[in-house]
């Protein structure tokens, strides 16, 4: 469990950028989407999400925008920026190369 937490912590920026890559989302929606897409593996501590989103926003990787809903309420949707897409592309390539190399080594050797 602690290892999983560490893994999430170190990959949080990439995970968040991945989730909002296709469409803008609001905070709670991001948490649900992460849980759904990872089949329950990534269960975020809710309080850690907003500091991470604000850090990404300050680094110009995402942009938060208030949108008015039909019921009159407002929600803050996070959009990925061009800079965010470029960062995600770099991170994705790095991960895929890392996974490929790990798979080559970690698989049991067949005699």
């Amino acid at each position: 469990m602690a290892q999983r937490k560490e893994l999430i912590k170190s990959s949080i920026d990439s995970l968040l950028l991945c989730v909002i890559e296709q469409q803008p989302m609001y905070g709670y929606e991001i948490i649900r989407e992460l849980k759904r897409r990872s089949e329950g593996y990534f269960e975020f501590k809710e309080g850690t999400l907003y500091p991470a989103l604000h850090r990404l926003e300050n680094a110009n990787l995402v942009a938060g925008k208030w949108e008015l809903l039909t019921n009159g309420r407002q929600r803050r949707y996070y959009h990925i920026t061009a800079q965010g897409r470029a960062r995600l592309e770099d991170e994705r390539n790095r991960w895929l190369n890392f996974l490929k190399a790990m798979n080559l080594i970690i698989q049991p050797v067949t005699p």
Binding site: E46, G47, Y50, H54, E57, R73, R75, R76
Partner: protein, 309 residues
């Protein structure tokens, strides 16, 4: 809104210490999150109170979230940091090039400072305006020095009036900055002991005007250096994320600059004067923290009394 939720949001607000517009955004965003989550939990059969408790437990400590969001926002862009340091840099240039003796330059600088302060107040007091706000204390210091040249009879009448008006002005400026973050208030007040140190070293109350100007002329390069130190402190302060590092930076910068003044003025500032200045610097650093506590305690009591009515 349940009392536990309003307490949670209050704790969040108390610890965010961001610009008012940013603070409002964060509070509204988390409030929307809580509303969504409570709604979802109520559908599982929980009461409003149970759902709120569960939701807040899942969110975690308000203080920790506020500190992490503060650290995400606290680092200002280089452009903002340099804008904030500009008044100190300009005063540094005034002394480095010995333009301080031309009253025209001083007046232009004062007008620029006042215009930027008014613009900053109109734009909701962004953090880059706080060092500029400190310079509105300059006319107060100049008026204080001019009091020294009043005839004796007038002196005893003018001093209490001056003290009252100066304290009121200083308090209202501090109060303005404390509402965002007491550390900004301490940053704004940092030049006060340094400028006082230079006044004590130059001793404008002894000798005639050419002698006083001569002393300022001698110390001008070191005065320029102390303004440069203040400018660098502001840039570093606005680029650092952690509060404890910011506080340490302010204390170290104040101590080093005062020591530099004592070194360059070669004994013109006595040891007791130096010690009093160091204590005053530490006092000015802590007074905003103390005032913030009092103001927040007062507004919390007021809010509680309104709720209980």
């Amino acid at each position: 809104m349940t009392p536990v939720l309003s307490q949670y949001l209050e704790a969040l607000k108390d610890n965010l210490r961001l610009d008012p517009a940013e603070e409002l955004d964060v509070i509204n965003e988390l409030e929307t999150h809580i509303e969504d989550r409570v709604q979802e939990l109520k559908q599982t059969g929980l009461t409003e109170e149970e759902a709120t408790h569960t939701c807040l437990r899942l969110l975690g400590s308000a203080r920790v979230i506020a500190r992490q969001i503060y650290e995400a926002h606290s680092q200002r862009h280089w452009k903002q940091a340099i804008l904030a340091a500009t008044p100190h840099l300009v005063y540094g240039v005034l002394f480095a090039l010995n333009w301080w003796q031309y009253i025209g330059w001083g007046t232009v600088m004062l007008m620029v400072v006042l215009s930027i302060v008014l613009y900053g107040l109109w734009r909701g007091k962004p953090s880059s305006v706080f060092p500029w706000l400190g310079y509105t204390l300059l006319p107060v210091a100049v008026a204080g020095i001019l009091l020294l040249y009043l005839p004796r009879g007038w002196y005893w009448i003018a001093v209490p009036v001056y003290m009252f008006l100066a304290s009121w002005w200083v308090y209202s400026i501090i109060e303005q900055t404390i509402r965002t973050d007491w550390l900004f208030s301490s940053l704004m007040l940092l030049p006060v002991p340094i400028v006082t140190g230079w006044i004590l070293a130059i001793k404008p109350w002894t000798g005639n005007v050419p002698a006083i100007f001569g002393r300022i002329y001698d110390f001008a390069p070191a005065i320029a250096l102390s303004f440069l130190a203040l400018a660098l402190t502001i840039v570093a302060f606005l680029r650092i994320r952690q509060r404890w590092l910011r506080a340490t930076l302010l204390i170290l910068s104040g101590l080093l600059t005062l020591t530099m003044i004592a070194y360059y003025t070669q004994g013109r500032m006595s040891s007791p004067a130096f010690s009093i200045l160091v204590l005053a610097m530490l006092g000015l650093f802590l007074v905003p923290a103390f005032l913030e506590r009092r103001i927040r305690k007062g507004s919390r009591k007021f809010a509680e009394s309104v709720v209980s009515e």
